[in-house]
């Protein structure tokens, strides 16, 4: 009988070895090397002086906003409508390739499909494999040359939703309402990083903290994590899982639409280049940030608990009727509200829209207050 039992030993041992390997792997992934301590200002200076102009990496984005799962990764998803709603749920994987300020490629890896955004000089291409369609934007040369001086200091690709772009949005909004500190070290994509913590001083906002992992060698932001009040897992996270700082293969940026694909030609009007024509799916960053009002928008308050209000008629057409959004909306007095753990949006029946990183009650009171002078 003992002999019979002994024969099960290898099976047991192998299972154990795999279990140990998994545990050990998990422990090692969380391990952080010791880095020389730095102050928040030093880390901020590192970000500002980062010299990374070429990279290829894989990005992992997860959103846990408490919204029902929405899959918009089907056919017919037009580039302009790569719905921000889709990127507010679930997780996505994307590959990013950047070579200098004018060449970049973003590949959103869907299940059995892919969406590609290729920027090469004056050409921008968007390709959706699920319906084999391509969109081409010609960017006028005047727009390409004009902002080069300011680009020197700017991140390599403001249009791409990299952790760097997202981090710069948050960092641009730092003012007296934010407490900035360095929260030790972390490890992202196998690189050691400083963890920069932004804590809102206001208690009225839904944001608990924003953590930015900054590469200890290059100062490149490697990951951004937004935590919401009263939620244990991050509400929104975007980070590299793999990063290579060498120049990517140049042929990646030469996009020729495949045979048989439907191609839409568009010309970018001579207005500022930034992310407008690009499907920049960057979740909360799409949220109008304090100090960056959109057309016709007014900002009520300042800092983290600011509320942005859009007058009637400025909402993108078709947004309110989209079935995906209708699923997530809840009726409130005088309109509908989209409530998530991080963002609230109030859509009033008269067409006005209020949004902010605050509970929906604050939006309602803001809407009420602005009613008073009008009457």
């Amino acid at each position: 009988m003992t002999r019979a039992r002994q024969r099960w030993l290898p099976a047991l041992l192998i299972s154990l070895v795999f279990g140990m390997a998994v545990l050990f792997g998990a422990v090692q992934a969380g391990a952080t090397g010791s880095l020389p301590p730095k102050t928040a200002d030093e880390v901020l200076a590192m970000i500002a002086h980062t010299q990374v102009r070429e990279l290829s990496g894989t990005l992992e984005q997860t959103a846990e906003l408490g919204l029902p799962g929405i899959t918009a990764a089907g056919p017919g998803v037009a580039p302009g409508a790569v719905s921000a709603v889709e990127f507010l749920t679930g997780s996505h994987t994307a590959r990013v390739y950047v070579d200098g300020p004018s060449k970049a490629r973003l590949q959103i890896l869907d299940r059995m499909a892919e969406r590609d955004l290729v920027l090469n000089g004056g050409d921008a291409w968007f390709y959706n494999s699920s319906d084999n369609s391509a969109t081409h934007w010609s960017i006028p040369p005047s727009l390409m040359t004009a902002p080069t001086e300011s680009r020197e200091a700017a991140p390599p690709r403001p249009g791409l939703p990299t952790p760097e772009a997202l981090a710069s949005r948050f960092l641009a909004a730092i003012d007296a309402s934010t407490e900035v500190s360095v929260g030790g070290s972390s490890s992202v994509a196998g690189r050691s990083a400083y963890r920069l913590l932004l804590n809102p001083r206001s208690a009225a906002t839904l944001v608990d903290s924003v953590a930015i992992d900054v590469d200890s060698q290059t100062g490149l932001p490697l990951g951004v994590e937004v935590r919401a009040n009263g939620q244990s897992e991050p509400a929104y996270a975007l980070a590299y899982t793999r990063l290579d700082l060498a120049a990517p293969d140049a042929s990646l940026f030469d996009f020729v639409p495949p045979q048989g694909a439907t191609v839409n030609e568009k010309v970018v009007p001579a207005s500022p280049v930034p992310s407008r024509p690009l499907p920049a799916p960057s979740g909360p960053a799409d949220q109008p940030h304090p100090g960056q009002p959109h057309d016709g928008a007014t900002v009520i308050g300042s800092g983290w608990d600011a509320v942005i209000s859009l007058p009637a008629g400025t909402a993108p057409a078709g947004l309110l009727t989209s079935p995906q959004l209708a699923q997530a909306l809840q009726p409130v007095s005088g309109g509908h509200a989209l409530t998530t753990s991080l963002i609230s949006v109030l859509l009033l029946d008269d067409g006005r829209i209020y949004a902010g990183l605050v509970p929906v009650e604050r939006l309602e009171s803001a809407a009420l207050q602005s009613n008073v002078p009008a009457e």
């Binding site: 019979a4 290898p10 795999f18 890896l109 892919e114 319906d131 996009f255 020729v256």
Partner: protein
């Protein structure tokens, strides 16, 4: 069984050829709408269709039959009379299963490619990323996909071998193996169990789409190979223990 597998791509190709309406992009299996433009997509479409059910079905039959089938026929005793040893018998049986995995995927890919070349025009192939590669490279990628699927099925083969050592009824072992593969795929689609997903042997089965990107994303190939080898090692060791302790009566 190989003939039945070979019939799948031919069926797809003929059906697409005969239907007058062009397939709507984005509906039906991957690349179905592109077959009319390029016959080389038949092989990939057929593999996509076969992975969830047909291929696991045949592997389940072959792997479930390995030990239990011999026991059922009463030939297991005679096999063990030879001075070869039980470990060797187990290894040979598993090698046979792997050989069938290779043959099955190769059959689907080859008959798909053949049907596509005969019925449709052939040209450079568009990848998921929108880049176009030559016919030669696309053949290479199809072979890579076949290899990926073969690796995917090896874990299921090891599970079938293990179940086969537990019973003398081959039908039971086959059914159990197939049911397990379906169950695993169902569990993989339940978002509530996402902590379990990376450990399911069918989790990476459809990950071969990563081989159709430019550049190839090798991570899913690596993760799949690692997961399958873990299943092979654990199930193989358990099958060894069970089989060596087994009282072979028939």
């Amino acid at each position: 069984m190989l003939i039945a597998l070979a019939a799948v791509p031919i069926l797809i190709a003929v059906a697409v050829k005969l239907s007058s309406r062009p397939a709507t992009p984005g509906r039906g299996p991957l690349f179905l709408d592109r077959i009319t433009q390029n016959g080389l997509f038949v092989a990939v479409t057929a593999l996509v269709v076969c992975v969830p059910l047909f291929l696991p079905l045949t592997i389940g039959v072959v792997a479930g039959d390995t030990i239990a089938g011999e026991a059922n026929l009463g030939t297991l005793r005679y096999l063990l009379l030879a001075p070869a040893g039980r470990i060797r018998l187990l290894l040979v049986k598993y090698a046979g299963t792997i050989a069938f995995c290779c043959a099955a995927t190769a059959t689907v890919a080859a008959s798909g490619a053949l049907a596509g070349v005969v019925l449709f025009p052939v040209g450079p192939v568009t990848l998921l990323s929108g880049d176009t590669v030559s016919v030669g490279e696309s053949a290479l990628r199809t072979m890579l996909i076949a290899a990926y699927i073969t690796v995917s099925l090896m874990g299921l083969g090891a599970i079938g071998l293990l179940i086969s050592t537990f019973t003398d009824a081959p039908v039971g072992a086959m059914a159990a193996t197939i049911v397990l593969s379906v169950t695993s795929q169902v569990l993989d689609n339940l978002p509530q169990l996402d902590w379990l997903h990376p450990w399911l042997f069918s989790h990476h089965w459809l990950g071969f789409a990563d081989l159709l990107r430019q550049p190839i994303a090798w991570t899913s190939f690596g993760e799949n190979a690692l997961l399958q080898s873990a299943y092979i090692a654990v199930c193989g060791a358990a099958a060894y223990a069970k089989f060596l302790n087994k009282d072979v009566l028939s």
